[in-house]
């Protein structure tokens, strides 16, 4: 009897721990990534994650995506954006990549990562399923600026992203920053 009770308690604790872990990991990865960039590079972001306004067309960004027909990529109100301006992002980017991947690999799949030693640009695109939606996280770091964007994509726009990850990643970042300025 005591064995059964102990087993039940252990199972309950395990389930609670797992649930807490999932909520923690899924809930706030965007903020964690922003904080990680701040700590790694000793920088501060200037934008606060926000919900983008609805109904603003950004066809010019979508036009750059191969096979792109959508007027906009991100689902209305799903954009979270953090911007870092005019700060130094010099450092070991292979070390940064490995830190980032370790932090996100539990809940996100790294789709494409590009690094350019010549111009110091790094682009990371991660993807995860969130119920019937798809979350995409795009991190772009240049020598003096950086952006972190998280959006929800429809299945149709996710297909565009998967066909042309680099093009769609750039378009998502442009779309988020344009919406921020409007």
């Amino acid at each position: 009897m005591s064995y059964v009770n102990l087993k039940t308690c252990a199972a309950l604790v395990l389930v609670l721990l797992m649930a807490a872990n999932v909520v923690n990991a899924k809930g706030d990865d965007f903020n964690s990534v922003v904080k990680m960039i701040e700590q790694f590079y000793g920088v501060k972001h200037v934008g606060i994650p926000f919900l983008a306004k609805a109904g603003m067309g950004v066809a010019r960004t979508a036009a750059r995506i191969k096979g792109g027909e959508a007027k906009r990529l991100a689902e209305t109100g799903s954009i979270k954006l953090a911007v870092f301006e005019n700060q130094d992002f010099n450092g070991e980017f292979t070390k940064f990549r490995s830190t980032l991947n370790n932090a996100l690999n539990q809940t996100w799949s790294p789709l494409v990562q590009t690094l350019s030693a010549t111009d110091g640009e790094q682009v990371y695109i991660y993807l995860r399923e969130a119920g019937d939606k798809f979350n995409v996280l795009v991190i772009t770091i240049a020598q003096r600026d950086a952006t972190v964007v998280q959006v929800n994509l429809s299945p149709k726009n996710l297909a565009l992203l998967m066909k042309d990850p680099e093009g769609a990643g750039k378009a998502i970042t442009e779309e988020a920053t344009i919406l921020d300025q409007e």
């Binding site: 990549r97 494409v112 690094l115 998967m162």
Partner: protein, 193 residues
């Protein structure tokens, strides 16, 4: 005493389960190459691209690609059954940025059991092109392409049933670079490694 026996039984079952699970994973990832030995080249490359499309992302692709769109329908057909697509590509401004030892970390894996180099594969691009198939009996279990030039190194690894025709259809999709491979009938030669 009964509790101790139950605990031992539970532990043994758990251990057995873990061993069985790891065996399944090992079997499923036979044709997955370990490419992380090339990661250090990113620091020297003017441009490096790392594509990781695992089984989960393939499943998502199959879900979101439309049957109504002819191009997406074709890609769906090609990736159905594939368990992963992995690409590492590096472009360098100067010569000699990657070494024979870097290449060897990949080629050593491709000398493993089941891998066969296709010898009659051509590319319109300059440089060396090596294409390998992993055969599991009569079926293809995976494919690897190593394309190297003095200023460029590309490794493509597709896990699962795939052939050159399928690879050609995937070029330019999912971040796979244009390799300009001309599919040919697979005359194989085991010793050519």
């Amino acid at each position: 005493m009964k509790t101790l026996c139950q605990t031992k039984l539970a532990t043994s079952l758990l251990a057995l389960l873990l061993v069985a699970a790891s065996a399944v994973v090992t079997r499923a990832q036979d044709s997955r190459l370990q490419l992380s030995s090339l990661d250090h080249l990113a620091a020297k490359a003017s441009q490096s691209v790392d594509v990781n499309i695992d089984e989960k992302l393939i499943r998502i692709a199959l879900k979101v690609f439309s049957d109504q769109d002819p191009e997406e329908r074709e890609v769906k057909k090609v990736v159905a059954g594939i368990k992963g697509i992995y690409v590492k590509s590096f472009e360098f401004e100067n010569e000699g940025q990657y070494t024979a030892a870097d290449m060897e970390t990949i080629r050593a894996q491709l000398r493993g059991p089941g891998w066969t180099r296709l010898v009659n594969v051509m590319s319109k691009k300059e440089g060396n092109l090596e294409v390998y198939l992993l055969m599991n009996g009569e079926t293809v279990g995976g494919l690897a392409v190593v394309s190297s030039d003095i200023r460029e190194l590309v490794v493509v690894n597709i896990v699962g049933p795939v052939d050159l025709d399928k690879l050609a259809k995937l070029e330019g999709q999912f971040g796979i670079p244009e390799l300009d491979i001309e599919p040919a009938k697979p005359k194989t030669k085991n010793d050519e490694k």
